[in-house]
């Protein structure tokens, strides 16, 4: 299929193409687009929160709506904005970096995307169906059990759907990295982003089942009358907290490790230097992942687990600062003596280092159990985790968008607007959250609808709100940049930065559907850089031009997801009316029926023939 024929397709043909695609690059772009949409939703919710808190005893929104706002802001940002955009990068870039033509399970990949998207839609439909969830993004029992209406049910089913999708994505990435590396691409030659994808996928594999179980227990209690969290029948609500944080803390590393990977790609390219301490970077990534599973109870110091348990988890928490410190120093050492280009991608990376370090430092402060009793549930905690999540993950996403935009969409984002967006966002970010450390230390509790006048909190909150709007302007400039680039941007070449080091820069932007006409031969770390240093224009092929086997597209993942989506409504509303059981069983029948169809019909895929490949220019 040549490019000319794809351009002639009508709207419906293109839509059908996207609904049925199993191409990892298209799915990656869809993940990023959907994630960006949810990011805007979460951002609007954040602005509403900040407007409410702009002045003492404000009545911009009601207390109930405020609770819905904070819950939806947290849930949307973590599960439906940050994670999907990172998974989008993993999808679009990781196979290119290891020299693969596809992922291991293209069908599952598409199913994972649709499950995530419909999970997000499900969650947000709650706004129109009687009120959004309002028990906080952590949904602590018994509050989440007693929350009236169906808001929390939408939270449970929405997360269950998207969680299943994420788990599939994780397994898919793991298998892809294990089996589909190009000839010569040994483990210790993999780019850092691929490594962090690998480790984050392991975390997904082990963390998400805990959330699944927690959500099941919550669902059974809310919808089927079980007694896990019902103290009168012997239940125990601390179980939810443990299950949630056994998942929740690794989740933080699922978010931050890929961001670390992105910075580890960008900094060497724009310093024109090999990444300092590659081996220690890989080692540190694994160490963070390992320790990340043994620290979850630092979210629960104030629960009363006893001094022994608290001490063990405190030590584990502080230990994580060590591998993280290794990484920070490695990035600094990569910059040291490099020939540095400052562009938008690099600005976000340079802005990340101090911002994240502040977040890491307050993390160690929070990890000190005794001190934590003072910080617990105050704005100090809010400031801390926004410093790591925004200063780490969001900066990473924006850096990655600037860096990989030409590879994803074939055009380089406008530099001037990129820089304007950065400065608005960066200054706004520090204005918003730095002051919150002090608000927290002064005793301002989190999740409160209003604060009182004359307690020294007025100015700080006003500054914070102003900062939030600057971040909003920054995001807006970025969106304008995207639109502008799409319309007016120039087409990018294979290696628009000129200094690309990894395999994705050796192929066209955007890549052909089969990625590599011939699989490349990898001769070391930073394979494309090695070839360039030896004066070669392209990678040395590891095989002659041959027929390429491609998977067929399929509409089944979408139908399967719609089945589960309908069944979820059945689960929620069968409490009110038994007729909804029809939706439950009908939806399940659709989903399982399409699974059966997938299993029974053999799909052999198709081939792109040698002759057609030879006609294509690189």
């Amino acid at each position: 299929m040549s490019i000319a024929s794809t351009q002639q397709k009508g709207f419906w043909a293109i839509l059908w193409d996207y609904l049925t695609t199993v191409d990892h690059k298209k799915l990656g772009n869809m993940y990023i687009a959907a994630g960006a949409f949810f990011f805007v939703l979460g951002g609007i919710e954040a602005l509403v929160i900040r407007i409410q808190l702009a002045k003492p005893e404000n009545d911009f929104i009601s207390a109930g709506l405020y609770n819905e706002m904070i819950t939806m802001h947290g849930t949307t940002m973590i599960f439906f904005a940050a994670m999907p955009i990172l998974i989008g990068f993993m999808n679009a870039i990781m196979p290119l970096q290891i020299g693969a033509r596809d992922v291991a399970f293209p069908f599952l990949n598409s199913l994972g995307f649709w499950l995530f998207l419909f999970g997000g839609i499900m969650l947000n439909l709650s706004w129109f169906l009687g009120g959004a969830p309002d028990a906080g993004w952590t949904a602590y029992a018994p509050l989440s059990i007693q929350s009236p209406g169906h808001g929390m049910d939408f939270y449970i089913l929405g997360l269950q759907l998207s969680g299943a999708g994420t788990l599939m994505g994780g397994i898919n990435f793991l298998v892809t990295i294990v089996t589909m590396r190009a000839p010569g691409m040994t483990y210790m030659r993999m780019p850092l982003f691929t490594w962090t994808t690998f480790v984050a996928s392991i975390l997904i594999l082990f963390a998400f089942p805990a959330l699944t179980v927690g959500l099941f227990l919550l669902m059974f209690d809310r919808l089927f009358g079980s007694a896990f969290f019902d103290v009168a029948l012997g239940g125990n609500s601390v179980i939810w907290q443990h299950l949630f944080w056994i998942f929740g803390h690794p989740e933080v590393y699922i978010l931050i490790l890929p961001a670390f990977g992105i910075f580890s790609e960008i900094i060497p390219v724009f310093s024109r230097k090999r990444l300092f301490g590659y081996t220690s970077m890989v080692f540190a990534t694994f160490l963070i992942a390992f320790l990340g599973f043994m620290v979850w109870a630092h979210h629960m110091f104030a629960v009363g687990l006893g001094p022994t348990a608290n001490a063990i988890f405190a030590v584990g928490t502080m230990a994580i600062a060590v591998p993280t410190g290794i990484k920070i120093f490695n990035w600094l050492a990569t910059l040291w003596g490099g020939s540095i280009t400052i562009n938008s991608a690099m600005l976000w990376s340079l802005g990340f280092i101090p911002s994240f370090t502040i977040g890491g430092m307050t993390g160690v402060m929070l990890g000190a159990t005794t001190a934590d009793y003072q910080y617990h549930d105050t704005y100090f905690v809010i400031a801390h985790f926004h410093y790591v999540i925004v200063g780490g993950v969001v900066f990473g996403i924006l850096a990655g968008l600037h860096y990989w935009w030409p590879k994803l969409f074939g055009k380089v984002l406008n530099e001037a607007m990129g820089k304007i967006a950065f400065w608005f966002f960066f200054i706004g970010f520090h204005l918003t959250f730095f002051i919150q450390h002090f608000l927290g230390l002064m005793g301002m509790p989190r999740r409160y609808w209003v604060f009182l006048e004359g307690q020294g909190l007025d100015t700080g909150n006003m500054i914070s709100t102003v900062g939030a709007f600057l971040m909003g302007i920054g995001s807006l400039v970025f969106i304008i940049n995207v639109v502008y680039t799409t319309v007016k941007g120039e087409k990018a070449g294979n290696d628009p930065w000129g200094d690309g080091r990894s395999l994705e820069w050796s192929i066209s932007s955007p890549p052909k559907e089969y990625n590599f006409k011939q699989l490349p031969l990898v001769r070391g770390l930073d394979p494309y850089w090695i070839e360039k240093m030896e004066g070669n224009k392209k990678m040395t092929p590891a095989q002659p031009v041959n027929d390429i086997h491609m998977p067929n597209g399929s509409i089944l993942p979408l139908i399967m997801t719609i089945g589960f989506f309908i069944a979820s409504f059945g689960f929620i509303y069968q409490v009110d009316n038994n007729l909804w059981l029809i939706a439950l069983f009908g939806g399940m029948a659709i989903a399982l029926g399409s699974m059966l169809a997938r299993s029974l019909v053999d799909d052999y895929g198709y081939h792109i023939h040698k002759e057609d490949l030879e006609k294509e220019v690189d």
Binding site: V175, F220, S226, L233, H549
Partner: protein, 207 residues
């Protein structure tokens, strides 16, 4: 690449399940999934262990459980694990009829297990009034054992679909990996049951 899916009788791969890239993917993917399932079931086990004494005045584990039924169920499931090993052994020898036979026996044993489990739940509910809603112990018990039972149901449907679909086709490189991944999944169900009969039933009966 149609030659990948047909067998040349003179040049049979040693392990048909892992001889194609797709087969390798399925093999690894299912194993990794089992790693996740380990965490899933451990969380159910952990919840059960935390709540096993929360009977809220209702029946306790000592009141409910009996050795005989659990023993029969255990032997059924353990044997079905062995029969699926036999089936895979015959698959590797390209003996399709014997593979189908042993998988058929596996399915029957699985069905028998399921029958006993349904009888067991029915017995607790009607004779003891012990339900999912009676107490936190009841919720935890039915959830843990029920999720295992759900896995058995899913495994059986999977196996029957595979057997029916491939009844006329014999062993190919495409379906060999499917049978192999199923058998791994089935063994894992057995692994979980070993812990269920030990932790839930036997430990629940020790006073």
């Amino acid at each position: 690449m149609s030659q990948e899916h047909t067998l040349d009788p003179n040049n049979l791969p040693k392990d048909p399940a892992k001889s194609t890239l797709e087969g390798k993917h399925k093999f690894l993917g299912l194993w990794f999934f089992l790693g996740g399932e380990t965490v899933l079931f451990s969380c159910f086990f952990a919840t059960y262990l935390a709540l096993k004494n929360s009977t809220a005045g209702g029946p306790t584990s000592q009141d409910l459980f009996g050795l005989e039924l659990v023993f029969i169920m255990t032997i059924l499931l353990l044997t079905s694990s062995l029969t699926s090993v036999y089936a895979i052994y015959h698959m590797k020898n390209y003996d399709f009829k014997k593979m189908q036979l042993w998988f058929g026996i596996t399915a029957l044993l699985g069905l028998a297990f399921l029958g006993f489990e349904i009888y067991e739940f029915y017995h607790y509910i009607t004779d003891y009034g012990f339900t999912f809603r009676s107490s936190a112990f009841g919720s935890a018990f039915y959830t843990l054992v029920g999720f295992h039972g759900g896995h058995v149901v899913f495994g059986l449907s999977w196996l029957i679909a595979l057997m029916v679909r491939n009844a006329r086709r014999g062993i190919t490189l495409k379906n060999a990996s499917k049978f192999n991944t199923f058998s791994l999944y089935w063994h894992f169900i057995d692994v979980v049951w070993v812990f269920i009969f030990t932790v839930v039933y036997l430990m629940g009966m020790v006073s």
